[in-house]
């Protein structure tokens, strides 16, 4: 019998072969990797099918702007689902916040910046309202947000008196339709976009490098050098191709910067912040999380406030895109966001998923929508196909888990 030591050992732990490691890591995120592959496959499919229209610079810009509000909602929905809850009210909240923004700007002539901030605050309050019932009174989120769905939809119609309110100031509209302004001399490309792309590449490589050196310093096992170089090359190529595509049209859409920032912040918080980890723990096993010192009520409350703010942001972007606050805005958005989350790796039982996964899931739906419209498939068939994709994505995951679990 060897004796156990409980003081940190100096010698590095025995590392299994790198490929085994890779396999295990890939399996843990099977659905997300699977969906990334599916996304690439869809892009290639429609690129060929549409004779190259899908990836034309203007269509890529369009694709991003068209799906921005769903992606913002999906990021929040993913967090809610990881925490073991659901939010059915976000579609109605999108409409309500859009309506309030319209009232503030059109009826009361408020400048767009304070109006936007007030709108986000309204979202936070709405989220806090629902979060209070869910976290502190223990009412199931399905019920509370179902009530919220009716409540906010009704409130929208009351506020708007059944009418659409328009138009919004230009600055506000740019939220959904604007691009980063061009500066500098004329090149074939959009200069600030090129600069941003370059920054992204440099930061990306720097991060990869720092992670690798730190892993080596801590004697943790790392990817083999060849694979790591391949990974870096692939990432760089993807960013460069994307940058050039955008830069040959109007440049980076404003809303993309917004989404990029959200993805970075929310992704980092969920992965590396203590509160983020507590969300996973809570969704995975509430009792165990409580006994490990997780402040469950506070975390649940915070999750719904976050969802409220994100729904408000999505509401503003959507209203800006329509250039109107309308009573019918955001219809079924909650279902799109939930679908995106599940396609992107969420689990019905909570505790699993990543913010990046929600974005991938949202993009799968977005590319399907856009591609099918381009090739002229009617909306009736589009619905059928999207339903089947959702079923197939989750079905594949369940099948894969069952196979691995034996």
């Amino acid at each position: 019998m060897t004796t156990t030591t409980t003081t940190p050992p100096e010698d590095p732990p025995a590392s299994p072969p790198a490929l085994t490691l890779l396999f295990h890591r890939a399996r843990a995120n099977m659905r997300q990797y699977g969906m990334l592959i599916a996304l690439v496959f869809l892009v290639v499919l429609f690129q060929i099918w549409t004779d190259g229209t899908l990836l034309l610079p203007n269509n890529v810009s369009n694709l991003i702007q068209q799906n921005s509000y769903i992606l913002i909602l999906a990021m929040g929905m993913m967090i809610v689902i990881i925490a073991g809850h659901i939010d059915l009210s976000v579609g109605s909240l999108v409409a309500f916040v859009g309506a309030m923004a319209a009232v503030l700007m059109v009826k009361h002539d408020l400048p767009w910046v304070p109006a936007l901030l007030l709108s986000l605050l309204i979202g936070a309050v709405a989220g806090a309202w629902q979060g209070f019932f869910i976290a502190y009174l223990g009412i199931p989120s399905f019920i509370v947000t179902l009530a919220g769905m009716l409540l906010f939809r009704g409130a929208t119609q009351i506020v708007l008196e059944g009418q659409s309110l328009a138009p919004f100031p230009d600055g506000f509209q740019d939220l959904a339709k604007g691009f980063l302004p061009e500066v500098g001399p004329y090149t074939q490309y959009h200069n600030p976009t090129l600069a941003l792309g370059l920054c992204a590449v440099v930061l990306l490589l720097l991060r990869e490098w720092r992670q690798r050196t730190r892993q080596l310093a801590l004697a943790l096992d790392v990817l083999p050098t060849g694979l790591w170089v391949a990974r870096c090359t692939a990432l760089t190529a993807a960013v460069v191709a994307f940058t050039l595509t955008l830069a040959s049209f109007h440049g980076v859409p404003v809303v993309m910067l917004l989404m990029g920032g959200l993805l970075l912040i929310l992704g980092h918080v969920m992965r590396n912040a203590v509160v983020g980890r507590h969300v996973y723990a809570l969704g995975g096993n509430k009792a165990a999380a409580q006994l490990s010192g997780v402040k469950d009520k506070r975390i649940t409350f915070a999750v719904f406030v976050t969802m409220g703010v994100l729904a408000a942001l999505a509401g503003c972007v959507y209203a800006a895109r329509l250039n109107a606050g309308t009573p019918q805005a955001g219809l079924n958005f909650e279902l799109e966001a939930i679908a995106a989350s599940f396609i992107g790796g969420a689990s019905m039982s909570g505790g699993v998923g990543t913010v990046m996964g929600a974005v991938i899931g949202g993009l799968v739906l977005g590319v399907l929508n856009n591609g099918m419209s381009l090739v002229g498939i009617g909306t009736d068939y589009q619905q059928v196909i999207k339903g089947l994709v959702l079923l197939a994505a989750v079905g594949f995951d369940v099948w894969n888990k069952r196979r691995a679990g034996r």
């Binding site: 004796t3 050992p9 490691l21 843990a28 730190r214 590396n272 006994l291 010192g293 505790g351």
Partner: protein
Amino acid sequence: MTRPVGEPLPTAGRPRPVLEMRAITKTFPGVTALCDVHLTVRAGEIHAVCGENGAGKSTLMKVLSGVYPHGSYGGEIRFEGEPVAFKDIRASEQRGIVIIHQELALVPQLSIAENIFLGNEQRSARGTIDWNATYREASRLLERVGLREKPQTPVAELGVGQQQLVEIAKALAKEVKLLILDEPTAALNDQDSAHLLELILQLRAHGVSGIVISHKLNEIRAIADSVTILRDGRTIETLTVRQATSTAPELSEERLIRGMVGRDLDHRFPDRAPYRGEDADQVALAVGGWTVRHPVDHRRTVVDQVSLTVRRGEIVGLAGLMGAGRTELAMSVFGRSYGQYVAGTVAVGGREVDTRTVPAAIAAGLAYVTEDRKRYGLNLLDTLQRNVSLASLPRMRRHDAGRRHGMRGFVDEHHERRVAEHYRTALHIKTPTVAEQVGRLSGGNQQKVVLSRWIHADPQVLILDEPTRGIDVGAKYEIYTVIGELAARGKAVLFLSSELPELLGMCDRIYTMAEGRLTGEVSRTEATQEVLMRHMTLRRTTRNGS
């Protein structure tokens, strides 16, 4: 090395085999779970299957019961003399092979009778459920298993032991010929266990053969006729437990353990090094006058005026029968996670501390390792790494000596992974990587993950609630070693267990509880199973409350 004591089974002159599993091989991608396993159960015998966790016992039973359908494994199964090929559980049940799992599979909201005939409903001529027949048959079956409850009683109102009896009644309703019990007494108290074992023997007398998977070696000796030992997916040997005519010595626990772990365990408990710090005699944990009421029924006092102390470097046992209030006391002290607090104080290191919430209790230096790791301990979907770090996330920042630390409130994943790797090696957690889902690990390894979490939280006082429940002998020894080392490093350990031998083997002092009250304190030298049992069964002279 001594020679094996058990005799190989003679083949002639014994009852015919009811079940023969020959050369069973079952592989999963990358793993061979079973390799050339043989198992022969004779008519009217109780056959025990034992082996460490991960030895392949459950896989073998899943092959037998059709969970893994015919064709997904190699080898042959013969039942009552003819080859069988089950495609699912229903098929095996139709032949009279019924498996009762460790985790009971009853629907709590349904009545006993409904549960017994679930999937096997008593039908009338019109195809609807015949309730009269259902209740009549259920009553008959309940009588047979010795459960005095009405068939209409919802299962949720029954205790674990009674639910187990309902499971057996359900098996009898299917005209069982071969009953498989997976760890049947793992969750039962001594009295219920004794009743269950008695029932198994009665069923044997009525011609029901049985396979019992058990970790409790004394039980195997009490009821089994023969025992097959599995190790690493292979049959090691089949031994006879009782031989009326043989002069062979009785099968000893040591003999069984040697077969299971493949080596001698001279002592089942590791030697402990004493803690030699300057503050060795300092009281680390002092609980005073702790009183707790039942969370729902506020008239019931579950923990009554309990005061105890644990010194640094000391392992103190807390013994008690089921319902004595041990877990309730521990959980209540740990952030008032159970019941309604009435009175009492907690002092850590001589200073009274606030333990009103779990975060406060952790900050005060307490740690509680739950008895039910699946329900209260682990996030089974998440990785080993994240399960280990959960209770010490705020400290998982960058730890480069002399260099800038990471941002407050954020976790450095590299450091986190290093910590997880450390515990994986130090506690011998069997998994290829720390990125493995905890749900895929065996029970013993899962327990080590929970322990790792709380060791890394670096508490002054560790409250361990049944830390070796449901895990095998080898893993138990490793966990005892870890506990011993914690004490040797100056941690105070409060060790709750219903297995008296492990308390006797590990503890410096043992407190006993009965009906929510402390009934005794016994030092290591005075403690014997008899003494402890006497204290644990002390009854109150006057009952309070009703």
